[in-house]
Structure formats: C-alpha cells, structure tokens
C-alpha cells in the first residue's frame, strides 16, 4: 500500500493556497478585463498611430517576464514608501498583465465585426452608442469569449509566480509541505491535480463554445 504522511490538515493547507490562487486570479482578471475593455475599444476606435503610445506600453507587459514585473513593482512600492502589501501589488501587476492581453482580444474582436454590418446599423439610424451596445458587442463577444477564457486560465497558471513575493498560494503551499514531509512527487502531483481540476473543465468549455459558434456561422 502507498503510505503518505500528508494529513487532512496539510491538504486543507493546500486548498487554502488554492483559494489564494483563485482570489489573485479573480482580482487580476476582473481589473484586467475592465481595463482591457476600455483600452480595446479605444484601440479599435481610433487610428493606429493615435493609440501607438498605449499599444507600446501594453506591449511591454507582454515582452518582459511576469516574474520581473512582480519584482520591479514590489521594489518600486518599497522605494516609494507606499506600504502596499505584496498581495495587492501582485493583484495590480497581474491585472495590468491581463489588461495587456485583453486589450488585443477586445480590439481584434471588434475589428472582426464586418464594416458593412456596422454601416447597416448606422444607416438604420442607430447612434454610435446603440451600434456599439446592440450590434458590435454581441457580435464581438462570440469572437472574444473563447480567447478570454484562455486568457483567464493563463492568468490563473501565471499567478503561481506571486510566490516569489512571499504569498502562500497553491504552489508555494505545496513547496512548504515538500520541504517538511520530503515527499516531493506525491505532494506536487496533488497540487498539479488541483490546478488541473480548476483549469481543464473550463478549457474544455471554451473549446466547445468556439466549436459550436463556428458551426453556427
């Protein structure tokens, strides 16, 4: 029989870590999506050269390792003496990171709405606002949702990096147990299983949505 010294308490410790993972993900995705929506509409609405500065800044978040972004943000807030907790710092950095990707998803989805459809909407007398809310967003949502789900899962996985700032999320909790119990493979497998359970069903759902919507088109 397989024996382990992993107790129920230890398992609870890991699940608590998973809770932190989910919380960081939730704040990051919520904040990032709101920013991404705003930036995305701006990017889609104005000529590319007008939004170049915005695009440039957002691109930095996609071209520098997330770990370095976290370290820099934490160092900066310490220097500035803001006294922001690592948890909040992590959420802010991850939200900006999410926004950088979300902006491109939103921009692409809006661009995917055919110009003729929009012209048709406007020619029916819809205002810009009505065109946006009644025509563009519903159509763009179909394009954006599968990618957005992918982004959310990506952020959940990337949130593991906040352990570097001393936050005990799922992976860090596992690492602590590994050090104490000396059963690395088993404990990491449990951690991996938890990640998998959180991610896989949603990934499947996203893939299915994408497939169904493609068939309907």
């Amino acid at each position: 029989m397989f024996e382990t010294s992993l107790t129920l308490n230890d398992l609870m410790f890991m699940l608590k870590g998973a809770g932190v993972t989910l919380m960081v993900t939730f704040f990051a995705v919520t904040g990032g999506t709101l920013m991404g929506l705003a930036f995305g509409v701006i990017r889609a609405q104005f000529k590319p050269w007008v939004t170049l500065p915005l695009a440039f800044v957002l691109d930095i978040f996609r071209s520098v390792p997330l770990l370095i972004q976290l370290i820099l943000a934490n160092a900066f807030q310490a220097i500035a003496g803001y006294g922001i907790s690592p948890f909040v710092t992590s959420c802010i950095v991850l939200a900006l990171y999410t926004a950088a990707y979300c902006t491109e998803i939103v921009r692409g989805a809006i661009a995917a709405v055919p110009a003729v459809t929009r012209r048709a909407a406007r020619s029916l007398g819809l205002t810009w606002r009505q065109d946006m809310t009644q025509v563009v967003f519903p159509m763009a949502l179909r394009v954006a949702l599968p990618s957005w789900i992918g982004l959310t899962l990506g952020v959940m996985k990337d949130s593991a990096l906040v352990l570097w700032l001393g936050i005990i999320e799922l992976l860090r909790a596992s690492q602590i147990l590994v050090t104490r119990l000396q059963e690395p493979m088993f404990i990491l497998l449990v951690a991996g299983a938890i990640y998998f359970v959180l991610s896989f069903p949603i990934a499947r759902l996203g893939a299915q949505l994408e497939k169904r919507w493609k068939e309907n088109d």
């Binding site: 820099l72 992976l171 690395p184 991610s199």
Partner: protein, 221 residues
Amino acid sequence: MGNYTFQWRQALRALPQMLDGALVTMQIAILSMLIGVTIAVFLAVMRNSKSRWLRAPATAWVEVARNTPALFQIYMAHFGLGSFGIYLSPYVALLAGIAFNNAGYLCETFRGSLRAIPSTQLRAGRSLGMGPATAFRLIVMPQMFRIAFLPTMNQMVWAILMTSLGVTVGMSTDLTGVTQDLNARSFRTFEFFALAALIYYLITKVVMLGARLLAWRLFRY
C-alpha cells in the same frame, strides 16, 4: 520617493555580466525549442493515430502541459523527480520543464496547421501520380510549415520569458539568475531588475522582428 537615490551606474557596470546571463537565457530557450519541436512532432503524429495506446499518453502530455503552470512543470522536474532519486541541476530542470511545456503547446499548433490544409491538396498530388508520402512531403509539409511558423516563433518568445522562472529552483547563470545574484549583494533591486527587463524586452523584440523578416523572406506566396 523618500530619500532613495537611484544608482544606475552600479547597474550599468554589471551590464557585461548580465549580457552573459542573457546568452545563457537564449541558449536555454533555443535548446528547449529544438527539443520541444521534435517531441511535438511525435506527439502530433501520436494524437492523430488510430491506436488509443498511442493517443492516450500524447493527450495526457498535451493536457498537463496546457492546464498546469509552467512553474509547476519546472518544480516537477527539479523537486518531483527527487522522489525517484533523480536530482536534476537547476539548468537541466529548467530546460526540461520548458521543453515539456513547449512540446505540449506546439503539438496543438502543428495539428491545427495540418487541419488547415484542405484534403484536396493531397488529392491533387496523388492524381499527378505521387505516392502518399511524396505528396505529403512536397505539397502538405511546406504549407504546414508556413502556417505553423509564426505561432512557433511566438512559443519561442514564451520560452524566453519562461526561462526567468529558473531562479525559483536556484538557477543563477541566466539573465534573471545573474540579476538576482547581483541584487542579493547590493540590494539595488529596482535598478538591476529594470535593466534586466530592458534586456528581455529587446531580446523578444529582436526575435519577433527576425521571425517577421524570415517569414517575409521564406514565404513569398
């Protein structure tokens, strides 16, 4: 800003050391891509095979690679294998973790690009008297290569960014590892890591630019 004074000169003096680290970073990224592409081709063939004994392990690899954090995969290589008495150095563990991740994602890239080529292309080749292998090699493969090229280069950028995770398993020779070492000695965290960020940024830009130029040169159609 309180009474903190930025000392950029100290960071700049460490630039040669950091550039050496950047070379190691590139080395790991390129190696992990070479290994990843090779494994991905096998995984793609396995996933498309009729035998479930070939499909199941390939599917498992792909789903684990895509549904768990890259950092977890590196931990598995570094700590996890310890349960079997296998102790990988940080360098090897990092390389193995990233290669594992690359293979999972690239497998799906390759499968997708194969699906994107209409079956009529193969048929047209066959009708000109080509055997199936010849038609695949001369007609399907080159078109697959084009479709998969930019996504593969994107994965290369991911691989570069992932190398930074090595520091969490004690890697000290890549760009992030070197920077962390310098930081531990001087506590000039912001300056050193800002410089590292700039180097990463430039590397990814150069890689993407090179990929675009290469694509433009290779695919004239």
